[in-house]
Amino acid sequence: MTPQLTTEQQATQAGTTDCALLGETHLTGEQFGALMGGMTEVAGPDISQAEAHLLVCEQCAAELASLREAISLFREASNAYADEELRSRPRWILPARRSLSHSLIPAYWVAATAMFLTALLPMQVMRRHSVAPPAAGVSSVAVSNTASDTQSDEALLEDVNSEISASVPTSMQALADPTADASTANNETSVPTTDQKKD
């Protein structure tokens, strides 16, 4: 006697996994999303039903696999593009900069110290030469120089102050009183005339 097969067994034996034969409906949008998004732990008890459906429904399994593959390609392509974009900008390569800067730090310090000492040594030598022998004479000259410098500075400042406080700058004096200039000019022109007359 041939045992009675269930619909599912009949479908499997026939080599087909059409849900219509099994009397099942395809995955709902929510089930599909839950399987795609990996939300099995938060999608409720019907996720196991959806997973069981995938085992017998080639169509749903193929659609899910196709979308999974497309999204996987999207991730790989996007990441590869971003990484290439990052590589094309040399200043972003931090590890290289880091190793370079770390390796150069001692060299920077040695160079800076050497330059400092080189600059300091002649100054010390000059100081010894200038301060040691004729202390009184040199210092008096230095003091007198400083005093004369101060005086000349003060004179210069006074000149500047008077220039600023003057209503008309010296360079513009000629234009300050055109009448006076004219009379002066007339006088100047007349003087030779009188002189000429005298002559």
Binding site: H26, G29, E30, F32, G33, A34, M36, G37, G38, M39, E41, V42, A43, Q59, C60, A62, E63, S66, L67, A70, I71, L73, F74, R75, E76, A77, S78, N79, A80, Y81, A82, D83, E84, E85, L86, R89, R91, W92, I93, L94, P95, R97, R98, S101
Partner: protein, 210 residues
């Protein structure tokens, strides 16, 4: 705006004082070296603008370093950085200037450039072409999602974060994250099913499913 690299950041040897708690972000050069590609990828896919992604990546690390004292290590450094990046991207996209320039800027990402990076996996020329078209289709569909749907989709499928982690990064309840992800997937699935290449491959399937 050019990224100045490590010199933009304060020296990692800066003393934090005796009271300051040591955090994984103190060694900023190392943190940048480890997480910069990931933050840049996420921002580039979110904003689709190379210059903006570069600038905001730099800003992400600067903010992370400045606020390192508030990092309580209740999540990973990567999660914390992505959270900062997401907030910066959100602020950036809210500005009218971004909306106006996003389609005309010279540094906008061209979908064909992205599709060119589809791995070959020893496919035939035809299969490679189909794969490129599928990637281009998804890239364009993701661009059309709402800001939240896009962020959540990218966090799930590019960053490969679990749902609770996405909820932590976005500050949204689990249920809200799930519903945004469902909607995003439904839109992408619809685009994928309607794509000519997919109909060619799975045409019978699509018809019967409908």
């Amino acid at each position: 705006m050019a990224f100045e690299g490590a010199q933009m950041f304060p020296s990692t040897s800066v003393s934090l004082g005796n009271e300051a708690r040591a955090t994984p972000l103190d060694d900023l050069e190392n943190v940048v070296a480890l997480y910069q590609p990931r933050v840049f990828r996420f921002l580039l896919a979110t904003l689709r603008d190379r210059d903006a992604a570069e600038t905001l990546t730099q800003e992400t690390f600067l903010r992370a370093w400045s606020a390192r004292a508030s990092f309580r290590e209740d999540c990973s450094v990567a999660t914390w950085l992505i959270r900062i990046a997401l907030n910066l991207a959100r602020d950036h996209t809210r500005t009218g200037r971004f909306r106006f320039w996003k389609r005309v800027t010279a540094s906008a990402v061209d979908v064909a450039e992205v599709a060119a990076f589809v791995p070959t996996h020893e496919r035939s020329a035809e299969a490679q072409l189909i794969a490129k078209q599928q990637v281009a289709g998804i890239w364009e569909t993701v661009a059309g999602l709402s800001a939240r749907q896009r962020s959540i989709f990218l966090l799930r499928f590019m960053e490969e974060m679990e749902i609770p982690e996405i909820a932590a990064v976005t500050g949204l309840p689990l249920g809200t994250v799930k519903s945004h992800l469902y909607r995003a997937l439904a839109i992408i699935r619809a685009q994928h099913d309607s794509s000519p290449n997919n109909i060619k491959t799975h045409g019978a399937t699509t018809k019967e499913t409908e």
